[in-house]
Subunit: 437 residues, 2 copies
Amino acid sequence: MKNGLCFLIAAKRSEMLQLQQLARTSELVHATASLVHGLQRERGLSNLVLASGGRLHCAQRQQQVEENRAWEADIRQCFNALDTDSPQPEHGARLFSRIAYVLQGLDALPHLRQQIAQHNGTPERATAAFVKLVAGLLAVVFEAADSASDPEVSRLLVALFNFMQGKEFAGQERATGSAAFASGRATHAAQHKLLNLLESQERCLQVFHDFASVGMAGLWHQSQQGAPLAELERLRRVLCTAADGAPLNPEHSSPWFEVCTRRIDSMRVVESRLAQDLVTLCEERLAQAERELQAYLQLKTVPPTGTPEEQANAFFDEAPAPPPTTVAQAGAEPATITFATDRDALGPQLGRSILELVHAQSLRLQLMEAELDTARASLNERKLVERAKGLLMAHRHLSEDDAHKLMRHMAMSQNRRLVDVAQAVLSMADVLPARNR
Amino acid sequence: MKNGLCFLIAAKRSEMLQLQQLARTSELVHATASLVHGLQRERGLSNLVLASGGRLHCAQRQQQVEENRAWEADIRQCFNALDTDSPQPEHGARLFSRIAYVLQGLDALPHLRQQIAQHNGTPERATAAFVKLVAGLLAVVFEAADSASDPEVSRLLVALFNFMQGKEFAGQERATGSAAFASGRATHAAQHKLLNLLESQERCLQVFHDFASVGMAGLWHQSQQGAPLAELERLRRVLCTAADGAPLNPEHSSPWFEVCTRRIDSMRVVESRLAQDLVTLCEERLAQAERELQAYLQLKTVPPTGTPEEQANAFFDEAPAPPPTTVAQAGAEPATITFATDRDALGPQLGRSILELVHAQSLRLQLMEAELDTARASLNERKLVERAKGLLMAHRHLSEDDAHKLMRHMAMSQNRRLVDVAQAVLSMADVLPARNR
């Protein structure tokens, strides 16, 4: 018969098993960041190849393709290492579903590359194809961030996801600007797209800033100084302020591509550090959880204090002794509180009753959940947009692209943010079907 | 090497494994409801035994104790049946932690009963002891509701938890009123406690009403008609409107206990049906998920449509065909939308590409999550109160009881709801430690 102690230990073991899964997911996120970066480069090079009719950058593209094949092999290995047969955390089904999508995309990649190598198709089509695959990979990182069970890991994943998403918007900005300069003419449509990408980028980088460590945010700000950024801002201004139909200098296409690339490469340095930090943090957490579990398991040999009668009275009468909790405010981080109960000292359970330990554990789990909720709340904006898109797809039988375009159009014509349109779509959904059916 | 199809199936299997755990948790909730009801009766009878110095209701109490031992054996069996060694859903640690607490309480029960049998201790002390154990059991149901992975099961669990919590407040109302009449004198303190219990009860029953099926809500309203309720309301009025220190008729103690008991027994009928419905619903869901999984597994033998080249083009160019989704508004239920994609028809995947299946699956998971969030949001009020209590325990080194009393006192003196006080405590917490340290 399992007793209270068994479940006290089971709760601890459950935390540890969750961290193990989180550690595997983090390896996957790390590999994803590398592949995404490679695909962003390949996208840029493929554009140059197609736009020049195969005269330019063919060798570099080929080299990047080779490199990406290695990253792809890495990520496929991570996918294989995931345990798909055991019970998964709640988000398991969503993560697997995202991975299924990515694998379809990776399987389609050789075919796309063949077409590009034969200078088949437009730069726009190639860009759209890579955008789709990268979006699928980012969705994997999103699910990982949404399902992390440790508050600190969750914060780091939120920072990383938003940084990656911001970097992807920067990559799309590069492609959009290149095409605009190359076309030699400013259009309102392209300007609007560009302004949208800039705004989305800023929002992502703000969330990154809110959730990243001070050191990491500093590293990012440091990299955003100096001449290249000033040149980028100048070219952005040229692109965004030209009158509809006004001429643009096609010669600017190349320096634009150049400064954008330098910025994206500097983002890669931060991204790569974030991804590495994530893996390290998970390893630390896991080692810590294992030590904690061992300390709990010791209770089986060193029984806790109190006779059965004392324990009974303790349960019904006495207020449990307060857990030896220290409340620490994490430096200049956004306001959250870290409760270190049994985390900092090993074996604090010796000399305490099971009831005290149960109270301390419940308290810690509760406060961990509160911290997790804070980090996850930052992911809600994207979720609302995705859900609204899903609703439109289901109600109006739209494709995903068309649903997104419809919402984008509503946002533009009503001059509202995409997330506000999403909210409106979702609240309408509660009303409309009832009337229509 | 696992391909997209593998992960499509893994996502489905993950859903099924979650439902298996949910089915086990539902058995546990069912057993919990029975034990809670038994303990509520034992609490009432113990009070009568102690108040009468052992002259009244000794045999009935003994009979109830025997019955409760059987319920206890049931619930311990459910605890044993839980898999404590495999990875658990995110909430696993919290559920186990709650169970550890309950087991400490159950182990302490024989000692408490012995004291009652010897007419040792006051009715107040015995009531407080049972209240503590019942609160522990309700916390198990709460975690089950908070962790359910299926929207429909989640709604039912939210309804059941709130109904059980409301019934527990009704039980505490019975004890408080009995003591007040027996004491022969009205006090503001007792009146305030009573009003609080009534308000809490109503709030719980309102949430039950919001989430229960139409049939179940109707069953409840039907049971709340007629003479006994009118008598209860009359006695409630007597209790709540008497001036501070005014005499109360001790003879009313017995009819008060009687009408309260009849009401609680009628609540048991609804509670019991809810608990049974829960088990049935989980079984249905599980059987359905198993059929769905089998249909997905067939894909391995009947490969989906499309050549590799067609599949590649589908990924990069074509909008995926909209999933055969039907949008159904559930009758007079609160506004939610049920998306039946692959739920109603078996094997709809035949003749569709993997990409289409992946899209349909992602869409369904997304909308399921949205529905889950709605049900879970209703649990937030309690979470906020629990978290604020935890914060006070940690910051001020208070016991749980004292933290609760402090918040209750703040709510009374500021004439605010407990949840608003909790919110204030939590938002203060972000500010205070930074200044103090």
